[in-house]
Symmetry: C2
Subunit: 218 residues, 2 copies
DNA sequence: CAGCGAGCGAGAGCACTGCTCTCGCCATCG
DNA sequence: CGATGGCGAGAGCAGTGCTCTCGCTCGCTG
């Protein structure tokens, strides 16, 4: 094989890491977080279980990595869905729909990040930035096009610096809308709307629209 | 011991069942659903693990029993919190607060019923009636005091017979409010509001109030 | 260029899990 | 009174997370 001054080792390591993550991803998608087993990941990747521990400190750390990837995936989708040239309400609806679509495509990942904390909970610090991406997209739309008058009547209960560029009046309804997005998607995904909501698409769009009104989108 | 024509056996069985359920409850509350182990329940109750299977078919069935109990517990709280003589908005707020309070007191139970489905999901049929109780309390308040005019603008996307006595126009915003209640409680409980919402009490009350307005409560 | 250390994979092992099956005891019903 | 069926105990299987030790070998350093 051609000379490889250094890097050989590092590259092999990166490849193995990737293979482990990919296989973990596959198992998560297929059987859910509870069924994800480090041993079976190892088996599938073609090594013995103890070797995996060279790459991942514990099963929990593996889950943390998957959580970050999931947050990034849905955040990326949300960012991509926003067409800044479109009318504000269309932007808003597109982002909402993107999150819902992603969630329906990746129910296990969605459950992992927005369902109950898996083992003993306590989301590690490294997940925080990734977790905020969708919220920031929504906040940006509100900041640019929201009518601050719509924020009247809400108390000021937020940390001042969370949503930069957003008028304090609109920050609270924005957080409410953000909550509503995930609450609605979660209820649909986890079966709470079974035998209740028939036309889920129309229902979802209606909720999105009401939220848009609440944050003062024209 | 005094004669016990029959019943002895049945009573012993009921007591053992109760002991198992109580211990399972305890473990759920202390360490969460993931850490609940049939073997350790057995150990604590003072029998061998295989004997527990005389009472409970599987770990999943145990979890199902706990789910039903949790639904009933929160439903009961919600029902008790409603004072039908109070002004509608006070009734509404009291029910919302009752759910939130229960959730904060029993985070593991809340996660069990409203978080991601634990193993391979699929909530068993026997949980359905218990699951509806809180929703029915909210629906009753809306049915009695909601202004149907507030329901204008929502599409009709629900099953017709889900919320008996509720005008179709108000049914959709009622479902939205129900979703919002659990979304808000869940976000608070699972740490999504960390570093975002400072005054959680005021925030929650404000959301409840906005929801009351949305369903046309005076 | 030779050699040493660090990274790595394999294997064995511990403590634990869910679940099954078999065995004996004993209360209950006929 | 005697048969039956419910029940608890024990052993056992397959699987899990995680640890520790052992050699190999790659690749940096003297």
């Amino acid at each position: 094989m051609p000379a490889m001054p250094s890097g050989t080792r590092a590259r092999a390591r990166a490849e193995t890491s990737r293979a482990i993550l990919d296989e973990a991803h596959r198992q998560l998608a297929e059987q859910g977080a509870a069924a994800l087993s480090l041993r079976s990941v190892a088996r599938e990747v073609g090594m013995v279980s103890s070797a995996v521990y060279r790459y991942v400190a514990s099963r929990d750390e593996l889950l943390t990595l998957l959580i970050v990837e999931a947050y990034d995936a849905v955040g990326e989708r949300a960012e991509a869905a926003r067409d800044t040239d479109a009318p504000p309400r269309d932007q808003w609806r597109a982002v909402w729909r993107a999150v819902r679509t992603w969630a329906r495509e990746h129910p296990a990942e969605y459950a992992l990040i927005y369902g109950s904390p898996v083992p003993g909970y306590a989301a590690p610090a490294e997940t925080i930035p990734a977790a905020g991406r969708v919220g920031l997209v929504l906040a940006a739309i509100v900041a640019e096009h929201g009518d601050p008058g719509a924020g009247a009547g809400w108390p000021e209960v937020l940390r001042a610096d969370v949503l930069p560029g957003l008028s304090p009046a609109l920050a609270v309804p924005a957080v409410v809308a953000w909550t509503q997005l995930y609450g609605t998607v979660g209820f649909e995904l986890f079966g709470q709307y079974e035998n209740v909501v028939v036309d889920r698409d129309a229902y979802f769009d209606a909720v999105a629209d009401a939220a848009a009104t609440a944050v003062g989108l024209p």
